[in-house]
Amino acid sequence: MATATSSQTRNTVYVAIFAAMIAAMGLVPPIVIGIVPVPITLQTLGVMLAGALLGPVRGMLSSLIVVVLALAGLPLLAGGRGGLAVLLGPTGGYLLGWIFGSLVIGALFKFWVLRQKGQTGRIITGLVSVIIGGIGVIYLFGIPWTAAVTGLDLGTSAIGAIAFLPGDLIKAVVTTLVAVTVHRSYRALMS
């Protein structure tokens, strides 16, 4: 049924739907989760999910599409932000980090997490992967970017990022559980 061409179109549709998910998560009012009083936006949840569910290349392309559409002017980022100023501003690095974050999460899921046989093994390796890619890599771009653009030193810039850490950790747990659950029923998602 699936020829080479149709699978390419299928991949594009998957990339597009996850890009739309990342965008939609920035448009809806955020969920307030019990433990954390601060309402967290779900956009990075979408970025993490794209990598964990679609794998490195398609996951990265989903994030890339959102970044491109936002820079081109669509108000897709949390708080209705968009346009070129987002990239030039102090938080532009986090946006670039999304692209590489979903790439790293996708690669780790494809070559490490999904090779685990047991459910527990997948959850543990999955969580490690999402934390590396979805928090580590994104902060790796975001923190030096803020420091470079504002002139703050790296330490202060990192302290600013810590405010988002609890929310991001919750999103990492959610991503892992969702991804492991979905991969169980959609085995062919990444092959």
Partner: protein, 201 residues
């Protein structure tokens, strides 16, 4: 942030030119270390925005967010280094963003997207398919309202079950539903014989 019915002189310039100018100005701003010159440039950027008759209501929310971040940056920089360099850094960022707003608010979304596609066109040589890129971008835009609706529906359904604040109970059905929408769309494209490979090879 899209140019909404902007017909000023800036809107008539080609997007590539504005984009290039913004790039040059941004780099230039980093070379300037005096708050006096930067204040003048900030004034210039505001004048550019004014002369382009942009819709300032579109700017309100982004500006509030930006000023909030800049206020935090200003205070922490001022304490760490000198208030002088804090002022320079904040003025520089604000000016840069003002010029960026000026470009974004006078360029239509289509023109900006076309520019990005032009910039990305060398990727053709490494195997990227322009038809698939356009399909991906337009499908993504098309899917946003659909997914927003799906998300709100799932949340409402889980609210009725008392699970509204359980992120897992919202995310799993949302992802499953998205995958189903994607499959339906891919099948519909196939059924209509959508074939992008032929045009590029």
């Amino acid at each position: 942030m899209i140019a909404a019915h902007n017909t000023s002189y800036l809107a008539k310039l080609p997007a590539g030119l504005k984009f290039g100018a913004l790039l040059v100005v941004s780099i230039g701003l980093y070379l300037i270390g005096s708050w006096q010159i930067l204040s003048v440039l900030l004034l210039v950027s505001v004048l550019v925005l004014l002369s382009a008759r942009v819709n300032f209501r579109q700017l309100r929310m982004p500006l509030v967010t930006l000023l909030l971040i800049l206020a935090i940056v200003f205070v922490s920089l001022g304490i760490q280094t000198t208030w002088d360099s804090a002022l320079v850094s904040v003025l520089r960022l604000l000016t840069m963003c003002m010029f960026a707003y000026a470009v974004s608010l006078t360029t239509t979304f289509d023109a900006m997207l076309e520019l990005f596609q032009q910039v990305a066109s060398p990727l053709r040589h490494v195997g990227a398919n322009p038809a698939q890129i356009s399909l991906g971008l337009s499908l993504a835009i098309r899917f946003i309202p659909e997914l927003k609706r799906a998300y709100l529906e799932v949340r409402e359904a889980q609210h009725a079950r008392g699970l509204a604040n359980n992120p897992l109970a919202v995310a799993v059905p949302l992802v499953i539903r998205s995958l189903r929408i994607a499959e339906d769309t891919a099948e519909a494209l196939e059924a209509r014989g959508y074939d992008s490979a032929e045009h590029s090879k």
